[in-house]
């Protein structure tokens, strides 16, 4: 009886494996015979695609990392900088599909000016990268480590903490005031969600095709959303059903979501410095700092709504929430400044978008309470708040251009 079962099971295994074996055989056959090559004909040049992954400027010159994003191998023949053939070293010279190579070019670049690096392959195809504004690339060192940490603190930790200081005020607001503030936060976040998504698609479009940017971006967003959702479910299951606890969990989830989003912001700032847009840095930092103050608000408002008059929130707990939301900005700045890659930028951007979406869903759910969401949204303070959030974002965007 048992033996027969075992025989049955092994036959099932065989049936499961057979298609895979056949597929492997088919692929082998296609690789061997190359049916597509019959269409290509003889003497047709190979399809060459080379993308610039990262360009660094150092006292020694220009270092460029290039990636073969095409199906055929690419051989690097010569390098031009600003339309002049220049000495360079490269390892390896011939790149198979998805292989990277680093070019070291001892070119005396000029600070603050624009340079164009061109790579010529053995067939004479030219791939170009423009360095818009040449400034030295920060190297991992204590100095820059410190600067990035400071930027992270300025952008992430301090503003979120400052936003938390509104807690006593928010606690004393009436229901309508709270609704308005929450709706305003949702309005801001929704705008940010759309904007960050658009940016994600832009970055995705710039990636080598093999990396399939848009699915990657979307998957990162969905993953972050579901991870936060799962975290919420787990936390709620662990805790008792008291109202204060529910408020705490929501605040915690929002803090985590905002933390993920701030990681992306830190990354953006670090990368801006790393990619030679340091001149913009100070303005960016101020912009982020102001924005993140409203994130502090987003954390305390639901907390205030849930924990009404009687209970007090310990300062240390508030501070912990602030750190949770703000500290990732520091990590983001480090990553962006030192190990920036467009693929990771896209993934983090996706995490941020997913996290914002989840925060929006959380806040809306919490705002509505037992009421059906559409009916709640249609109340006057909520509508006014949503509209105000959107209008504020839109008009400031118009003004800044």
């Amino acid at each position: 009886m048992l033996g027969a079962d075992r025989g049955h099971a092994s036959r099932l295994w065989l049936v499961g494996l057979l298609p895979l074996v056949l597929l492997a055989g088919l692929i082998l056959l296609m690789v061997r015979t190359g049916p597509a090559d019959a269409l290509r004909g003889e003497g047709v040049p190979p399809v060459e695609v080379l993308t610039f992954q990262r360009v660094e400027l150092t006292p020694r010159g220009i270092t460029a990392v290039v990636l073969n994003d095409g199906p055929d191998p690419v051989t690097i023949a010569q390098v031009q900088v600003d339309d002049a053939y220049w000495q360079f070293t490269v390892e390896p010279k011939t790149l198979p599909h998805l292989r990277q190579a680093t070019l070291a070019i001892p070119y005396p670049w000029v600070e603050g000016e624009t340079h164009r690096v061109k790579v010529l392959t053995s067939t004479g195809v030219v791939f170009e990268h423009e360095i818009a504004v040449a400034v030295p690339t920060p190297k991992p060192g204590w100095r820059f480590f410190g600067v990035f940490t400071l930027i992270g603190i300025y952008v992430g930790v301090v503003p979120v903490m400052i936003g938390l200081l509104w807690y006593p005020l928010v606690r004393r607001l009436g229901q309508q005031g709270l609704d308005f503030l929450l709706a305003l936060t949702v309005g801001l976040l929704l705008f940010l969600l759309v904007d960050a998504s658009a940016e994600g698609f832009e970055v995705a479009a710039g990636l080598p095709r093999s990396y399939q940017g848009i699915p990657l971006f979307a998957f990162a967003g969905i993953a972050a959303y579901l991870a936060l959702e799962a975290l919420g479910v787990w936390l709620r299951k662990r805790s008792s059903a008291r109202r204060e606890q529910a408020g705490w969990i929501l605040a915690l989830l929002i803090a985590v979501g905002i933390g993920l989003h701030n990681l992306g912001e830190g990354l953006a700032i670090g990368a801006a410095f790393a990619l030679g847009e340091a001149a913009l840095g100070s303005l960016l930092i101020i912009g982020f700092a102001m924005h993140n103050t409203t994130e502090g608000l987003a954390i305390v408002v639901p907390l205030a709504k849930q924990t009404n008059a009687g209970s007090r929130v310990p300062i240390r707990a508030l501070a912990a929430l602030g750190l949770l939301g703000g500290l990732p900005a520091i990590a983001g700045a480090w990553i962006g400044g030192f190990v920036y890659s467009q693929v990771w930028a896209l993934v983090f951007l996706g995490f941020g978008v997913g996290a914002i979406a989840q925060v929006v869903a959380q806040i809306l759910g919490q705002m509505a309470g037992d009421e059906p969401l559409p009916r709640y949204l249609a109340t006057r303070p909520v509508l006014a708040g949503l509209l105000a959030g959107f209008v504020v974002m839109y008009t400031t965007g118009l003004l800044i251009g």
Partner: protein
Amino acid sequence: MEGFSRRSWLRLAGVASLLGGTFWHRTPRPSAQGHASSSNDYGHAGHSLGTVGRVSADRFNPMTYLRSWNFAHLPPAERQKFYRETPRPDGSLLREYEIFAVDREIEIAPGLFYPAWTYNGEVPGPTIRATEGDRVRITFLNQGRHPHTMHFHGWHPPDMDGALDAHQVLPGEQFIYEFDAEPFGLHLYHCHTVPLKRHIHKGLYGVFIIDPKTSRPPADELIMLMNGFDTNFDNDNEIYAVNTVANYFLTEPIRVTVGRPVRIYLVNVTEFDLVNSLHLHGMFFDVFRTGTSLVPHDNTDTVMLCQGERAILETTFRYPGMFMFHAHQSEFAELGWMGMFQAEGARRET
């Protein structure tokens, strides 16, 4: 990092200030300046310019091309296949050439290959050199995949012009060009099939020298043809060179002797650009435009030629050492049109 729009960051800044949550931090200015801005670590910049590596000189050697005409670089038996001289009653020569058009990949910079159309497998094509009054007979066989012709600059009857529709030599066919060599001077030949730009810049051109009956004074004679290559088909040259290979004479200087006259046959066939030029460092030369007069037109150190224009330059090196020469369009010079003379011998006043 283009993906993160600056606008949205700034927008956020504006949002916050409108909300009234204005906090003005004094942000440090983490400018990278002072960190590594003075850049003195490049080595000698002059040694950094130019292509990297060496080309294979097995198929085509720009140095051999420099001092060879009428297939003189080939061993006699081999040369016989492509070039024959027969004396004529009036003392002149009948010069017969075998030229064939063939598609061939050529190396125009180290590791950089160009799908060329060639005369006899070389770019530039073989240099044809006759004396004024000689009879030139060229059997042209088209082994390429497109129609081609040979169009010579010089006196000839219209049916020898190789420019009209009726003159096209189709793939697999042949045509015999025959004419008297005149006037003396420095000329050129090239394919005149349309589209013209493509047929010329793909490599179908060469130098045609007609010597005066009383030959010019003896000199070290050098053939320099200024050309360019558009490797990515954007009607702009990625490579500029003299004798095809970018920077060849930068790594392999042309050896000349101090005190011995040097005669340069300079021809410009650069496509896409209006003019090209030659500038010689540290000395001056006589210019004989088109080489049709034995009296120099000019004495200068920079000569400019339109496409198809040519000039004979004569000079004598006075000092031993290295002398740079290049197009005085810096762009062309940095894209491969730069080389060196290495003058040997004791210093001499000339």
